[in-house]
Symmetry: C5
Subunit: 353 residues, 5 copies
Amino acid sequence: MSKRRRQKKAPGLPPGALIYTGTHTNIKGHLHWISFDPDQLSENRTGDLSEIPSVPPSGVLWVNMDGIHDVERIEALGKKFDIHPLVLEDVLNIDHRPKAEEYESYLFFTLKMIDMNEQDEIDAEQVSIVLGKNYLVSFQEKPGDIFEPVRDRIRNKKGRVREYKADYLAYLLLDAVVDRYFVILERIALRMEILEDQLVKDTADDSDSLLEIQRLKAQFIELRKAIFPLREAVGYIERCGDDILDKSTLKYFRDLYDHTIQIIDQLEGNREMLSSLQDLYHAMQSNRMNNIMKVLTIMASIFIPLTFIAGIYGMNFDNMPELHLRYGYYVAWAAMIAITLGMLWYFRRKKWM
Amino acid sequence: MSKRRRQKKAPGLPPGALIYTGTHTNIKGHLHWISFDPDQLSENRTGDLSEIPSVPPSGVLWVNMDGIHDVERIEALGKKFDIHPLVLEDVLNIDHRPKAEEYESYLFFTLKMIDMNEQDEIDAEQVSIVLGKNYLVSFQEKPGDIFEPVRDRIRNKKGRVREYKADYLAYLLLDAVVDRYFVILERIALRMEILEDQLVKDTADDSDSLLEIQRLKAQFIELRKAIFPLREAVGYIERCGDDILDKSTLKYFRDLYDHTIQIIDQLEGNREMLSSLQDLYHAMQSNRMNNIMKVLTIMASIFIPLTFIAGIYGMNFDNMPELHLRYGYYVAWAAMIAITLGMLWYFRRKKWM
Amino acid sequence: MSKRRRQKKAPGLPPGALIYTGTHTNIKGHLHWISFDPDQLSENRTGDLSEIPSVPPSGVLWVNMDGIHDVERIEALGKKFDIHPLVLEDVLNIDHRPKAEEYESYLFFTLKMIDMNEQDEIDAEQVSIVLGKNYLVSFQEKPGDIFEPVRDRIRNKKGRVREYKADYLAYLLLDAVVDRYFVILERIALRMEILEDQLVKDTADDSDSLLEIQRLKAQFIELRKAIFPLREAVGYIERCGDDILDKSTLKYFRDLYDHTIQIIDQLEGNREMLSSLQDLYHAMQSNRMNNIMKVLTIMASIFIPLTFIAGIYGMNFDNMPELHLRYGYYVAWAAMIAITLGMLWYFRRKKWM
Amino acid sequence: MSKRRRQKKAPGLPPGALIYTGTHTNIKGHLHWISFDPDQLSENRTGDLSEIPSVPPSGVLWVNMDGIHDVERIEALGKKFDIHPLVLEDVLNIDHRPKAEEYESYLFFTLKMIDMNEQDEIDAEQVSIVLGKNYLVSFQEKPGDIFEPVRDRIRNKKGRVREYKADYLAYLLLDAVVDRYFVILERIALRMEILEDQLVKDTADDSDSLLEIQRLKAQFIELRKAIFPLREAVGYIERCGDDILDKSTLKYFRDLYDHTIQIIDQLEGNREMLSSLQDLYHAMQSNRMNNIMKVLTIMASIFIPLTFIAGIYGMNFDNMPELHLRYGYYVAWAAMIAITLGMLWYFRRKKWM
Amino acid sequence: MSKRRRQKKAPGLPPGALIYTGTHTNIKGHLHWISFDPDQLSENRTGDLSEIPSVPPSGVLWVNMDGIHDVERIEALGKKFDIHPLVLEDVLNIDHRPKAEEYESYLFFTLKMIDMNEQDEIDAEQVSIVLGKNYLVSFQEKPGDIFEPVRDRIRNKKGRVREYKADYLAYLLLDAVVDRYFVILERIALRMEILEDQLVKDTADDSDSLLEIQRLKAQFIELRKAIFPLREAVGYIERCGDDILDKSTLKYFRDLYDHTIQIIDQLEGNREMLSSLQDLYHAMQSNRMNNIMKVLTIMASIFIPLTFIAGIYGMNFDNMPELHLRYGYYVAWAAMIAITLGMLWYFRRKKWM
């Protein structure tokens, strides 16, 4: 539950008020655009909105904005592409759940990009896409290299991206974000394998395992919030179908939909696995408790009667005939050894030893 | 489960019988109206129903009633705006679940406004809205400032409220109530972070944590009852669509619907988190138990055999040759130290120390 | 699970065979009829079926039967009003789940009337209603006063009942039964509050709490079986709509539907609350166990080493120099006190004291 | 999990291959037919397929086959009534889930008949019905008397069976099977009552209760597998409606559908009850553990300090002034009694005694 | 969780990039084709793609590819049969969930073939089928004999396969894979029976049972991922219906659908059974703990008081009159025996012995 963001928008604010609710406010925002058709390509990493070329009649213009805390520029960009204030509000509200929504002249899509740092902490960033005819505007909270391979493919004319429309570009961007989930889930699965191994071999520190389980649970809750609504959103696009998407692109979105379902399957499988690990942890803990109690019981059951016998013959009564027997002491030892052996036999029969 | 309200309506009462079922009966009810169009505005905080102006042909009349225990005035107000007795019954029945219902000439909406006091206790108040053509009547159980920012915006012509119709005003009021939920959930999340911190660092008092968990659970149950039906109700309005709402207002209600879903997501995430904290609590408790048992077992296992040896040589047999050995005492000590070291080695190997 | 009724109908019996499956067989059955229109009213508490007047062309005839074990009279009554044998079978099968079913000339409705006696035991009675054009036949297992307020309202022309049709009367009867559920749930909520209080303050007897939890669970199971199908049944009537019901009555049934949903909400909330109380009970029990173990561990850990030291100097070796020291005894005491203090410090640091 | 049947059909066998998968292979199969219309009746218990009369143009021919391991006769019977091989495969595959399926000229229905023997073991047998125009073929794994009452009613012209068509006969057979479920559930409920009683009064042997719970769970799993798909299957027939069923028969199937839902309700109620009993069992076990620990703690806490005091004055230091006091011994006793009383007071205050 | 495969496809790769994600890369791929119609048959196990005959105008060509790591040959095969790159990507992505998808000229189906080795480890292999008009291409990760019986039936003209079309062949292949599931589930059920037996008789090693439970859970998770989507996929084919399938084949696919549902039923039943076994395990563990504690408590409660008495008369006070009584020692013994008997009586009454 670390890194919880605070909701900054005060209740009672007018709707459509543009306020960035995230924490990446000291990041220098970058504006990058690239305009291409099968034959030509021009691009620029500029901070100046006015340099963005106009939407080409054919081909695609893709404007990407890194750092969305600069509300005024977002607003200017919104005005330039005629984006509804409620959409911009959603772009800035980084707690928004993933969704797709069709507007008159464009499709809006927002989802989470998940990263995991060295300390296995999840870092969620909101990515939003406005897909219009022949243009695409994308927003990221902070600069990242996830879209760079797509740009490379555009520059180098790899694949079909240069021939296809903006909707195919949108698919490529979404696919890049969704593919990242597989990597995250794989890392989580690996952590769970390690955890299981430690539990089975009983080599883990007790509270470390416990905290790792707790942490994984919290991360699953966060991942679910990011991934579950995604299915609905991608399905929404697929259903919208012909209105927005080219027929040839549709099957790519269907593929994307398959991927989101596969991610959900894996996530749910991992969740069940975790709950099974938790059961294992508890059972192991109970086993340990049983073992501790067995040692105590064995020790106490053997030595308490012996000590009692020793106590008997430590009494100071004047008249204790056994004390004066020649071999009394040895008989006492024999009795004590017999008791010990009897106890050991009993515990072994009970399989406590 | 504190502050449970008693259902006062006796079974067998005729339907439509107006009885206030809440506890805020010693509150002085206030009646406030405001009438506006893009150009003009008049308002009054009056106790007199007769002073309410008639519904304007254009523009909006908003009548707000604080304190609904005064059944007769509610009835008079209902008569004035031609509100069905069953609707008024719902207004007064503060245990009613949130719902929206379309009547012939108006839309009825009831929901819960949630507040949290200094002691982190939840205080739910019923808010009802009757939205007609060019008028809106709202009911609150007790005076509150949650609608004041909306009034300010009306007075100061901030935003679009003066240009839009009564349906937009209804949206603003509902949005104000819904936005409050985010604040409550944020506070609950903060309490859970503190609780988790205490559990992880094991600094909390055992029964305090337990009662906090219990309290959070009860609050989640209460919040669910307030929030879950809300989705359905807002969705109902959205589906009614054109009949009641202006087309331009519709997308605001869609936005409101998104917000209710986001709240439900957060609530469910918090609930899962709480159940995970509860697991953590139990595991911590078991760990503690294990530790207690370990200390007992170690102490008993080391000292019981030693005491036995001491007991042996405390016996008073006439014939105990060891007692008369020159270094018998020191040998006994050596044996006892050897046993102790053996035990310590054993426990360390078992990782109990 | 007290008072479980035995299913008396043997398997293999022909369908439509009329057999009363309940336990209220030694009750004297009562037959009561009331016939009214806005202007006139006649009624009689008779045992004689032949005295029942014919169905009035306008106005309403309501026949109520208390005690349904008298199968022959049920059959005669069924014949008089032309009720299908399968319907009569359902009337007598007191284990039948609540349902509504439309027949050609009437609507059949059966549900459970729940009562709670002084010992907080639930007593479920089956109530069935046959609603035809201008007549209504109701069946109860045993005489009860739940319909008396409705009769009073008919007699005294209170409310709308005299002006409306038989469908409104049906609504009044169902509403009376449903309203009773709120009272039951309120009493259960109260018992749960008391239970929670006892658990939190740890004043309850352990097995009493346990049995109360167990009892509440069993009652929730029984209530669910009575209440859940009710929603479906009331919804069925509402959907049937115009065919059976007057348009003006429809909104009352919609209100009744709202009430059943509210009851389900409350029931589910209570169930969750109970499961949370059960968790509390278990956690409290574990806490107690921890505390018991702490006391044992502290006592044993302090006194076992001391006893060991005492044992050492109780040995009878000839050569034990410490025994002959002048202050040997006092030094031994000092050592024992030091050990005790060390132990106390250790336990306090571990927060076990 | 006793009596698990082995799936005998090897994977890779061609579809439609007729192989009996059950265990009742040493039962002599019986073939019985009865042909009737309102006026006439002829029947025969024969082993000879060729003696079966042809399907009457009006009236009903009912052929019942006990013992389905004789695959060749099944095949011959199938050929005679033109039954599809896939249907016959389902008849023989006794692990098939209950289902109804419409074929061109007949309706196929398969379900489980459940019995419970003296040792409370469940015995499931597959019953299949092929319902054609004017004929009905039924298959049972082993001879049973469950259909005998139906035959008696046919012979004695009891009820409507002689006047109605084959579909009503099918209803009677299904109803006979379904009614048996109520008896089974009643017996299970009785066992659970006994179990609860033993748990509450703590008179049961620990592992007996545990195994009974385990057994009930396994039986619920088996019952669910038999009963849940039944609802769907009966609902399927009901929906098929007019095509297969006479209009007058339809309401009997609707009644049957009600019964299956009622059985599911009871089954689910019983399952919840069982899970509640399991909770009770665990809580009782914890209580017992607490009580055991209390006894241990009380005994140890009282006697360990006393033994320590006795140990002190058993030491052999030369210089121990108390030993030489005149009333030293009595003072020691007094101290020990004081400690005992203090401990008792402490434990009583803690409510451990 | 052993044998988890690593996802090899890097995020950001272009869609349709053909990369095999499985581990069977050192297997020599085999290509086998068989072409038949009711009268003729030719087949060849070749490595050469060019030798594959062209699709016959009537009859069926079945090409089977074992070993899909050889991406280039897969691509060539795809080109030959005009298979979409996204389909080939799915063929190679062995983590793909089972699905069916209709393309313009063929139907694509992918599912998991499950095997269980001697060590009861699950081995899942991806099988994909492309079903076109008069041809069928199947892909397996590694050579296996599961399709051999089908080939034999083709060669030997057993059953209907030679007369029917490619869709019937597809059914046969799918049926072979699905039938294998029954075998796996049967083996798992057998393992669970053994486990239950060991638990009930308490003969199992504690951690072995625990690990077996853990392993079964993991296998259920894996099986669910393989089996649940299958229902949807087979249902999809069934719904597509006439477009792809011959009418006579349709009912075979309906049968296949029934089988998948039956497998899901069995899987869910097994899962519930496992969870019930887990409960049993925990209860048994608690029972054992209780028994251990009982032994400890009985031993300690009996001997600690006795040792105390012995300690008393081991004290060295000058003035202890009892010590000098003639029968003091015997009286002490009598007291100790009385205490022992009292304790035994107490524990027996508590049923601890």
